[in-house]
Symmetry: C2
Subunit: 322 residues, 2 copies
């Protein structure tokens, strides 16, 4: 399969990254700084910026200011601003902001052990919650068209996830969408804890495609064990054209059982990879690197991005020979 | 092409990594610590450990103790201990130690601008030096069978390197080997400054293979801009079964024009990648991770390896669900 000519990236650093940074220190990153970064990102060419998380302010206090960020940002036309919500209460909060792009999306978790930690629900309770949320989407005029599967490639608590489970749960996502009058058009596969490898990406994508050839697949990858960019490349080789990324390599999930794990696959490294492969992203790499530097300033420590340290190549970075 | 069933890794961290660490502080890493790390590495299953650099002690004082390390290590049967030498003086020093595996190897540099900085020689002077060294190899009973090409994928001083130049210089390496009674059997392509991308790796390997189908190719990759592991995967997809790696992601070239660049592609991440892909390396990953931790202790700061922070997966790392 040919590499895609163009890929779409979703910047998730201000949500997933700042959520991880704020563990145990909820006020580490000020609302003002969060707004500043979201506004800077909107100037890079990133078409979707995810910054809000409508989860329990008691359990994830570092995201309690999601409404305040929504109120403070300067919305740029053509950019979608998004957040996450793990239950009906969060979804209603997100809709109520009036600032976010809401899409009818249902999520399942391939590892029950992880789901019990992250959402505090077993498989059955999770299915019930997705139906409850699907009803809210439908009733508010958002057709259920997107599905997601967390921990789709492995789990720190459970180990390997069989590909059959991925396809079975994808079938469940299709069923839920149909029950509520929608049609599943896109599936997001998340490597929440960094268990994927390039061949597993290809086999999993292949298995889903064989059964649902029309379904568009997105990848949400983590660079936890250093394979993140190789996994992106494997996705590109399968024609995947939609990825979640985090600037600077910010990120990590507070319930994933890592103390010092690397975060999301790094936005500027993915943009650089695509540029070097001749794939269009629409993202201005220099501006994105500036944003990653701003993120480093905001969190107060170095971020894992290697490109940020080394700088890009060609044209500006070619040192003139003496 | 199928992935190789087995790959061979050459551990270069104690040479390339410590060389970079010691810039401006030649005694930062003690000879004792260097010996300790080499001896620990010899217990991991790594079959070749490169730790010595017979270059000018005036210009690279941090490697001036190469002979002392040779004298101090406990040689383990079945392990090759190697070093580098950029001219005839260095080669003679290496032979004189009596401790190293010497192989008849000639090296050219695809970027003249980089060669002028690293070896202080232009193309013509470099060709002359390789002939001088080839004569020494021949006269000491080491047939010239290996060739190397530095900066084969791009250069911070010169920019892109055309693939035609790679094949032309590979032809020169063949000629030199033949002139001195040898036959080029292996070619090492070095991405000295981290300019490679997965498709460039595949195109370059393909171009060399088309012309010399019997030539075995090794890759020496850097993770300067975050694409290192993706480039290894691209090499594996082309059937490449021989890589240089640096534990912890140690490394970098002092003359490559980087201030804070990431180093060699990380040994434990490559071993992990191979293991996850079902490729045999013969390396004990847990022991190698212990060595990377020792290297962190020795250099006194965190190394870029993500696997080192996050830990591997399966079996020991699967946290038992409560």
């Amino acid at each position: 399969m040919a590499l895609p000519a163009k890929v779409t990236l979703v910047e998730v650093g201000p949500r997933e990254g700042f959520q991880f940074e704020g563990i145990g220190q909820a006020d580490k990153i000020s609302t003002t700084d969060k707004i500043r970064l979201v506004d800077a990102l909107s100037e890079t060419g990133m078409k979707t910026i995810q910054f809000a998380s409508f989860v329990s302010p008691r359990q994830v206090p570092q995201m309690a200011d999601s409404e305040a960020i929504c109120a403070g940002i300067t919305k740029r036309p053509g950019v979608d601003y998004t957040g996450i919500y793990l239950n009906d209460v969060g979804l209603k909060r997100a809709i109520d902001t009036g600032k976010l792009t809401i899409s009818g999306r249902v999520y399942l978790t391939a590892s029950e052990a992880f789901g019990l930690r992250n959402q505090r629900r077993d498989f059955a309770a999770d299915l019930a919650m997705q139906r409850k949320m699907a009803a809210i989407f439908r009733d508010n005029g958002y057709p259920v068209e997107h599905g997601g599967l967390m921990a789709a490639f492995g789990c720190n608590y459970e180990g390997d996830i069989p590909i059959d489970r991925v396809t079975e749960m994808t079938a469940s996502l299709h069923e839920i969408a149909a029950e509520f009058g929608g049609t599943l058009k896109r599936l997001s596969l998340s490597d929440t804890m960094g268990w994927a490898n390039p061949e597993l990406i290809r086999r999993t994508v292949g298995a889903v495609r064989t059964r649902w050839p029309e379904l568009r697949i997105s990848l949400h990858l983590h660079d936890t064990r250093g394979l993140g960019i190789a996994n992106v490349y494997a996705g590109l080789l399968e024609g995947i054209d939609h990825f979640d990324t985090g600037l600077g390599g910010l990120g990590g999930c507070p319930f994933a059982g890592h103390k010092a794990a690397a975060g999301n696959v790094c936005s500027e490294e993915v943009v650089f990879l695509c540029r070097e492969l001749g794939i269009e992203t629409g993202v201005d790499l220099a501006r994105l690197i500036d944003c990653a530097r701003l993120a480093e300033t905001i969190v107060g420590h170095k971020l894992p991005s290697k490109l940020l340290n080394a700088g890009t190549v060609r044209p500006a970075q070619v040192v003139q020979a003496a």
